[in-house]
Symmetry: C2
Subunit: 76 residues, 2 copies
């Protein structure tokens, strides 16, 4: 089975990487880009029967820094 | 309007970051993690009326390195 985890910086946390992308898009002539936030996506190939709770535990322990990042889990 | 772009390394391209995550999960006692691929997710806050073609152009020009990365665009 597959799971996909999205990890994004929480709202209010400065995202210099996203800000750099926004700036670069503007410099390339893409007007109308009002904001950019960049995060991580982690695709996990898991043994069958792994529970969503286990994936959540992985996020809490390793994949996300829950002080500044939020995560969401999708089981596919 | 919002758009979300996923950028992943193409299959067959070595992903050392994903491999490091897989190894760390194993060390933390999460058995049954067979593979991990790590990519980027970019959330764009766009002016209304921006077309999907324009977002695709952003991906081709800046957001993805199409030699080794594939991307997908979701308009929300």
């Amino acid at each position: 089975m597959k799971a996909r985890v999205h990890v994004m910086l929480k709202n209010g946390v400065l995202d210099p990487q996203g800000e750099a992308v926004r700036h670069a898009l503007g410099a390339l002539g893409f007007d109308g880009v009002k904001g950019v936030r960049q995060g991580k996506v982690i695709e996990l190939d898991l043994a069958d029967g792994t529970s969503e709770a286990e994936v959540t535990a992985m996020c809490e322990k390793l994949l996300a820094n829950t002080v500044i990042e939020s995560y969401s889990v999708e089981i596919a």
